[in-house]
Amino acid sequence: MSVESSGRLQAMAWIGLLLIGIACFVAAPALGLSLAFWFYLALWITLASGLNIMSGFTGYLPFGYAAFYGIGAYAAAICVRKLGLNIAFGLAAAAVAGAVLSLIFARTLNLRGIYFSMVSLALAAICRILVANLPDWMAGGSFGITLGVGYRLGSYYALLVVMVATLLTVTWLARSRLGMALRAIRDDPDTAEVMGINVGRARLKAWMISAVIAALTGAIEAWYSNVVDADTAFDLLISTKAIIYAVAGGLGTVLGPVIGVIVMLFVDDMIWQRFPVLNVFLLGLVIVLLMMFLPRGILGTLLWHKPRLRRVLF
């Protein structure tokens, strides 16, 4: 099979899957399915895919990814509740806040490996403390901010838009020159530089895209859940879960995080329903076993063993 026809097959398969997925998500509320389950499924697909841009494509593991999520949540909440603006302005503010924060943190991209991860984690903690110490009239103090927007269905469809946009962005990235540059940086940043890739600029672009995705997700989640407070908005579990889901599916692939999220959430839901007492322990066990036996993730391992599947899956 030629490269072009292989690429067309891949594109068709992906578009087909995406359309089926979108149809399922759109139809879920009308079919009376659990809005909360489908909302958080979309949320984690979006977050894991956003993290994949930095981690899978660029090789940076941001343990402090929750900082962007939290700042987006607060930006939206402050706009809506404190400034009396429409939620659409809140979402726009969240995106801007995420971009600005990513620029402020951009210097950390000069670090590599575990050092970047540790500094990222520390910066997220600093963000949380700073927000928690904002005046009560601005950020609601320790009780946080209750948005009072209502129309949860609106937030669900807003998140679907962001999710689809994120997946299309990741797809574009996988096929673009920027994506190739990021992978080169991931594999060997020094060689990439020698080859003429502007390492700093490429990394920054990926960083900002990833940050905006997380910020928008945080803002929409605040809209959906109606409340935002410093502890839950900047919870490090947000970063941890995004990493686990992305790794479980396969970092560096487009479909990997999607598969990881779907599998892990379904497994989690099943365990939670059937084992009310042991569910957390069992979930931890599943994650450990997954990491031990499928270190490349589900899709990553599949593609490793069956490279021909790259024609369709990527």
Binding site: G32, S34, L35, A36, F37, F39, Y40, I129, A132, N133, D136, G140, G141, S142, F143, G144, T146, G148, G150, R152, Y224, S225, N226, V227, D229, D231, T232, L237, W272, P276, V277, N279, V280
Partner: protein
């Protein structure tokens, strides 16, 4: 003739179908949904509250259940795990309403989780009683189906500030942990103190996780405080008391909200003369109009949970009270309709006393009736010192210095 036969057959089939359908839909029980936290920061408190609901469940079912439309229905508690997680609460309450088809709800523990559950209950048109949503803000959102059966944050310092004023405290130092409940209670204490004419000479928060309070204590002393007021959690209070002793810092009036917990009273003499808060105590016997009395409640707790790691506390009592309110609302309204249940709750508001105190709400569901109780550890035993109508001892004021304890 053939047509008549077919019509008769059709009618029989329809009637038969309807009949079996009706039988299938005939109510078997009243389903109440709630979540508890198996893990996470709210686990201990949540499980303490769950035991209170279990006491109610055992009691109500031992009497045949809840009366509805002239018949008693057993209560089925549909309980799920929220893992102290906001996202799980959202999913779970959605599931409880739309899949489990519960008839009413009991809220989760903590204001943050109640804030997530409340709009879901409201939009799902399910009545929900809250036993741990102390945030005042919860009741400013316009929810129509939520009522509180716990003292709100702004009301918690009422009794203690009144007591401080009556004892002659004139300068108050307020110190608290930067977390939702301690911070909001401290804010309320400051507002009430200033309204009562006390001067707040220090109002300072510290970061979660801090254990060195030496500087804070020195500042409070240097500011001339005659009263020290802390709304922090018990683990911080233990460190504070120890550091007070190490630095020989004491105040005529020391109030520590969580100092009634066994972890703090276990300090022995060092915890003497410290005032604290509770909403339930084994020596308090409100004139209960609904549900178990204090003695009956404690006996039920011992019977149902003989091996429990913790004794019954105010969280147990509050959750029990919330369940009793739910039962009373159903029986009064003779309906499971959320609006009717809310109306019923407003109807018996101010006329109902539970083991956790008087149930009195306003139109928003905000709890106004439950009086906070102030305790003081006196010679190793906790005594109720306020409100005066239930006091079992006079307050010791001023507290002696460390060398005289």
């Amino acid at each position: 003739m053939i047509g008549l036969g077919r019509r008769a057959l059709l009618a029989t089939c329809i009637l038969g179908g309807l009949s079996s359908g009706l039988q299938a839909q005939e109510r078997q029980s009243i389903r109440i949904g709630m979540t508890t936290s198996s893990t996470g920061p709210f686990a201990v408190a949540s499980q303490s509250g769950e035991r209170g609901v279990q006491i109610w469940l055992d009691d109500v079912n031992s009497h045949g259940g809840i009366m509805l439309s002239g018949k008693k229905y057993r209560v089925e508690l549909v309980k799920r795990d929220d893992r102290s997680d906001k996202q799980m609460v959202s999913r779970v309450y959605d599931t409880l309403i739309n899949e489990d088809k519960v008839d009413a709800l009991i809220a989760p523990f903590s204001s943050t989780l109640v804030a997530v559950a409340a709009p879901i209950a409201d939009s799902g048109n399910k009545f929900m009683t809250s036993w741990a949503g102390s945030s005042d803000d919860l009741f400013r959102q316009g929810y129509k189906t939520i009522v509180s059966a716990t003292t709100q944050a702004s009301q918690i310092p009422v009794t203690s500030i009144d007591l401080a004023k009556s004892l002659g405290v004139d300068k108050l130092a307020i110190v608290f942990d930067d977390e939702p409940f301690p911070a909001s209670t401290a804010d309320a204490a400051r507002a009430l103190a200033e309204k009562a004419g006390l001067k707040v000479v220090l109002f300072e928060k510290y970061s979660k996780g801090s254990k060195d309070f030496g500087v804070l204590l020195q500042k409070a002393k240097a500011a001339g405080a005659t009263g020290f007021y802390s709304t922090s959690y018990d683990s911080d209070l233990i460190a504070m008391i120890r550091q007070m002793k190490e630095n020989d810092i004491s105040f005529p009036f020391t109030y520590m909200l969580y100092a009634s917990l066994s972890s703090v009273t276990g300090l022995g003499r060092d915890a003497n003369d410290i005032f604290s808060h509770t909403q339930f105590d084994k020596t308090v016997n409100w004139k209960v109009t609904d549900g178990l009395t204090t003695d009956q409640f404690l006996a039920a707790y011992d019977r149902l949970f003989p091996k429990a790691a913790y004794p019954a506390d105010f969280q147990t009592a509050l959750a029990y009270g919330a369940a009793v309110v739910l039962q009373k609302a159903i029986e009064t309204a003779n309906s499971l309709d959320a609006a009717k249940l809310k109306a019923a709750a407003l109807g018996f508001s101010g006329k109902t006393t539970l083991v956790s105190g008087q149930f009195e709400i306003d139109e928003t569901g905000f709890q106004r009736g439950m009086k906070p109780i102030v305790l003081q550890q006196q010679v190793g035993t906790l005594k109720i010192v306020a409100p005066s109508d239930i006091a079992t001892a006079k307050p010791i004021y001023p507290a002696p210095g460390w060398s005289q304890r």
